[in-house]
């Protein structure tokens, strides 16, 4: 799943993921609310939950941190199923330090996303995830 308020970035990241050949399904949302709603609707169906979420930080209304906070209110089965990769242009040290508090945040990738770097991270997460859970 990709959550980013920039439609161009959504498209770019979707293409990079497709080109990496690692994930077979990508769901994109240009706002955090809809993404959370999707997770909520599928919270009882682990196979429909995204294994990986590429999450932007600076978004209007619900930003990346609020998304993470809201995600923590979901049952453990949902929380542990999802690994987060933050994707942001931030150079704000408080932003970067704050991310350490979230257990399911794997890493922070800087924009512009480096396709090789993304591929590496996806492969690493993928090797820890059971087949079939990949979204």
């Amino acid at each position: 799943m990709i959550v980013d308020d920039s439609k161009i970035d959504l498209f770019l990241h979707e293409r990079f993921i497709q080109l990496s050949g690692i994930c077979d399904k990508v769901i994109s949302y240009n706002n955090a609310e809809s993404a959370l709603q999707y997770i909520n609707e599928n919270s009882m169906m682990p196979s429909e939950l995204p294994a990986i979420v590429l999450l932007d930080i600076q978004m209007p209304e619900i930003n990346g941190f609020e998304f993470l906070n809201r995600l923590q209110q979901f049952p453990e089965s949902v929380r542990t199923a999802i690994t987060i990769i933050m994707v942001s242009s931030t150079v704000d040290h408080t932003d970067i330090n704050r991310l350490e508090d979230y257990k399911n945040v794997k890493c922070l990738l800087k924009k512009p996303l480096d396709p090789d770097q993304l591929k590496g991270v996806l492969e690493k997460i993928n090797s820890n995830v059971k087949v079939g859970d990949v979204s």
Binding site: D9, L12, F16, L19, S89, K111, L113, D114, P115
Partner: protein
């Protein structure tokens, strides 16, 4: 702020009604006058009329002296200027009150009209100047904050589309979907990188003015390594060597020390001389209980002597004769960051030979 032609508002406190009456009789036409027979009554009037400009109080009152009254209201009503009416016998308490800064002037009793009138005019002038200053200060603080917020959000809004452009260029290259025999994509990427570099400098400038200082133990070996890593140095193009002499802990603002190192090292790398076959940047650090002394030397372009005293000015750039041009913010940020840490910088440079910057940062042991 008091409006022009507005009557001066005066509160006069005296326990003798006769004194109040005679004051009113003399000044009623010129000033807006409030009177009170006691400190309690005076506080009531002040709470109701917060815009009183001057307070005149008699020193000798039964429950509370004039000086005590002034001391008691200074927190709630700091703005009105205070004038004390007193007999010669009260000198002692008077000196204390004046030294404590509670009182603008004192007038001996019985007052004469001309003296009191002059004092009132002067006190009002002092009140007015003080108010103006206060308002200018508030305005300045507000403008400053707005400017910082503007820089911050503008920088972020500017960066996202730039990074999207870089993303598109990356994608086009990856897909090989654009016919680009002349390398236009790289030209686009380079220009965007240059603009993004400038925006990043603006953010650094903002961070330097806004981020609070946190003092922590700084290990220079580690910090310099981190800094050089973050600059993505092409080690085939420029060699760097550093030597750190640090046997004791060094405490300072790590963020700003990093900012200084980053900008100086970046400059040393960026402004290399194309005719120099072995460009090299040397970094030396020596830490003692008082200071850290950082020396950053290069054999790059150097700076012409006539520019040396201008390089720390915002947006100052020398003539562009080489590639890898600056944006005129880096050294300004260095200087500003050092100001915040009470540090200093000096530069020695010979044009077409190289530059050497020496930075001294105090070691904050406590």
């Amino acid at each position: 702020m008091p409006k022009p032609n507005q009557k001066i508002k005066i509160l006069y406190i005296d326990d003798e009604q006769n004194n109040l009456n005679s004051f009113k009789a003399v000044f009623r036409r010129d000033y807006e006058i409030y009177t009170a027979l006691s400190a309690e009554e005076a506080v009531g009037i002040l709470n109701e009329h917060a815009d009183v400009h001057l307070i005149i109080a008699d020193q000798r009152m039964p429950k509370c002296t004039g000086v005590e009254f002034f001391a008691s209201i200074i927190k709630e009503h700091p703005d009105p200027r205070r004038i004390l009416l007193t007999g010669y016998a009260d000198m002692e308490s008077l000196i204390g009150a004046i030294n404590n800064g509670n009182i603008y002037r004192y007038i001996t009793k019985p007052w004469n009209e001309l003296e009191l009138r002059n004092t009132i005019q002067n006190a009002y002038e002092a009140y007015r100047v003080n108010q103006e200053l206060k308002e200018k200060n508030q305005e300045l603080t507000k403008v400053n904050e707005e400017l910082s917020r503007f820089i911050y959000s503008a920088s972020h809004e500017l960066r996202s589309p730039l990074l999207s452009v870089l993303g598109i260029v990356n994608l086009a290259k990856l897909e090989n979907s654009v016919v680009d025999p002349y390398g236009y994509l790289n030209m686009i990427a380079n220009s965007v990188h240059q603009l993004d570099g400038f925006v990043l400098k603006l953010i650094e400038y903002y961070q330097n003015t806004r981020v609070e200082s946190i003092f922590e133990n700084i290990n220079f070996n580690g910090l310099i390594k981190e800094t050089i890593d973050s600059l993505n140095v092409d080690t085939d193009l420029v060699k760097h060597e550093f030597c750190v002499d640090q046997e004791i802990p060094f405490f300072s603002d790590k963020f700003r020390v990093g900012l200084v190192l980053k900008n100086l090292i970046d400059n040393a790398l960026k402004f290399r001389r194309l005719s120099e076959p072995f460009p090299v940047v040397k970094i030396k650090v020596k830490v003692d209980s008082e200071n850290a002394t950082v020396l950053i030397q290069d054999n790059g372009q150097g700076i012409q002597e006539e520019y040396l005293n201008k390089i720390f000015t915002m947006f100052f750039r020398t003539k562009i004769e080489h590639e890898g041009q600056g944006n005129g913010i880096g050294l300004y940020i260095v200087k500003e960051a050092l100001n915040k840490m009470n540090g200093t910088i000096s530069v020695q440079s010979t044009y077409n030979v190289g530059s050497s910057f020496e930075v001294i940062i105090p070691n904050i042991q406590n």
